[in-house]
Symmetry: C2
Subunit: 249 residues, 2 copies
């Protein structure tokens, strides 16, 4: 086990930060790491917006569902799928590349590019002793987020990341059994095995909550999942994406 | 600069590997790291398929556009967006969660989850002295990939990753200028600045190729981009995704 793997395995989401901003140098180092990630066919279809302005952070915290740690952190990053620069290049060269740019395939490429850069950001920050928390909540109100950050067409803000000096550590939640996530040569074909892996995991999660709350909570993972998915959220997403001239053809 | 950041910054895609398979222990360690990545609201909406079977690898190499390193490596991973387990849980509990599962929002969540796990995989492997290469080429023919790996509905194979002991190192390609990828407080509003950043980068890439090829190639990045995007690819993607009961509502 080397230092890199220890850093990765030690990850937990941090939601309480000291009142201490990251330095410009720290931000530059972190963004260099983000940029070092792989990118599909060298397309570099993402952008990162660092938010320092306190009023903007307040507004973002509110839009993300009153998440205090969107305001109170060392720095706040927003990762965007970005095909704007490609579209800009196409227009300047008078090349018609819109069919590509508006395809589901390229939407996927941009999402994946942004996520790879984001995970490098997370690991780099954690290696510096900082904590991080991904913020999907900015997708609650993308129209407002877009206005706040003045993102042009073909840029979709995907998620935020609060980074800072941890002031309160959190526990690590146990993940799905490895043999449920990881298959060899083909996807698990035995429904009995598949179901029993999920049951096994329900027990793990239930004991995790029992221990943590002195028996007050006993949630099973599969119940959490159905409770969450029973309520469809952000159903405006397709419309928003298409309005911003990306996807979904 | 710590070891973690050096590992991240030292990344380059490796396409030539020694004929030496990863051990089961190495694979387990790498997959543990993948699982340690953040996951949106604890949904864990991805799966990884490790391919060892030589016939399957040959077929995958062919489907990916005759990429030899899909066959010749230490291990081959395929990362999938996976809402199958959630759908399976919903059916077992007789809960109707299909509206959620078939939303664009949840498709994005699954893609991002898979990509975060993949980037942890890449960094973990590189920290062990291994090299990696992402393989988007499996998206050329997803119908065949799906058949080969027997993935059920609501599982979308997104990309592969060849991992192994490097037998030939490659150069690192310079990335876009940091101030083009990274904005503060709002997206760059000045089109002149935006255009000049791209021009600056064209010079960087052009010198990179000139040096590497003794002047035979002088490609500019913006030309590479328009050449690539002039030819729309994988335009069947939306249809494939919908046929597999994910997305795009």
């Amino acid at each position: 086990m080397n230092d890199v793997m220890s850093t990765i395995l030690n990850h937990r989401s941090i939601r309480h930060f000291e009142d201490k901003a990251l330095s410009t140098e720290q931000i530059r180092e972190i963004v260099s790491c983000a940029q070092a990630a792989s990118t599909s066919s060298f397309i570099q279809a993402y952008s990162i917006i660092g938010v320092k302005d306190v009023e903007k952070k307040k507004k973002l915290a509110e839009l993300a569902g009153n998440q205090e740690y969107v305001l109170k952190n060392g720095h706040f990053f927003i990762f965007c799928a970005d095909l704007h620069r490609h579209s800009f290049i196409g227009e300047n060269k008078e090349e018609n590349i819109n069919q590509s740019i508006e395809s589901t395939e390229k939407f996927m490429v941009a999402l994946i590019d942004a996520a790879l850069a984001a995970q490098n950001t997370a690991i780099a920050a954690e290696s510096m002793g900082l904590g991080i928390c991904y913020i999907g909540g900015i997708r609650n109100k993308l129209e407002e987020v877009k206005e706040l950050l003045k993102t042009p067409e073909r840029v979709i803000p995907l998620f935020g990341m609060a980074v800072g000096y941890p002031s309160k550590l959190t526990d690590q939640k146990p993940r799905l059994p490895m043999n449920h996530i990881y298959h060899e040569d083909e996807y698990e074909q035995d429904k009995g095995v598949y179901a029993s892996q999920l049951e096994e995991y329900d027990e793990v999660i239930s004991s995790y909550y029992t221990k943590r709350t002195n028996g007050k909570r006993k949630d099973r993972w599969t119940d959490q999942i159905t409770n969450m998915l029973n309520k469809p959220t952000r159903m405006y997403m397709k419309e928003f994406i298409e309005k911003n001239k990306m996807n979904l053809k």
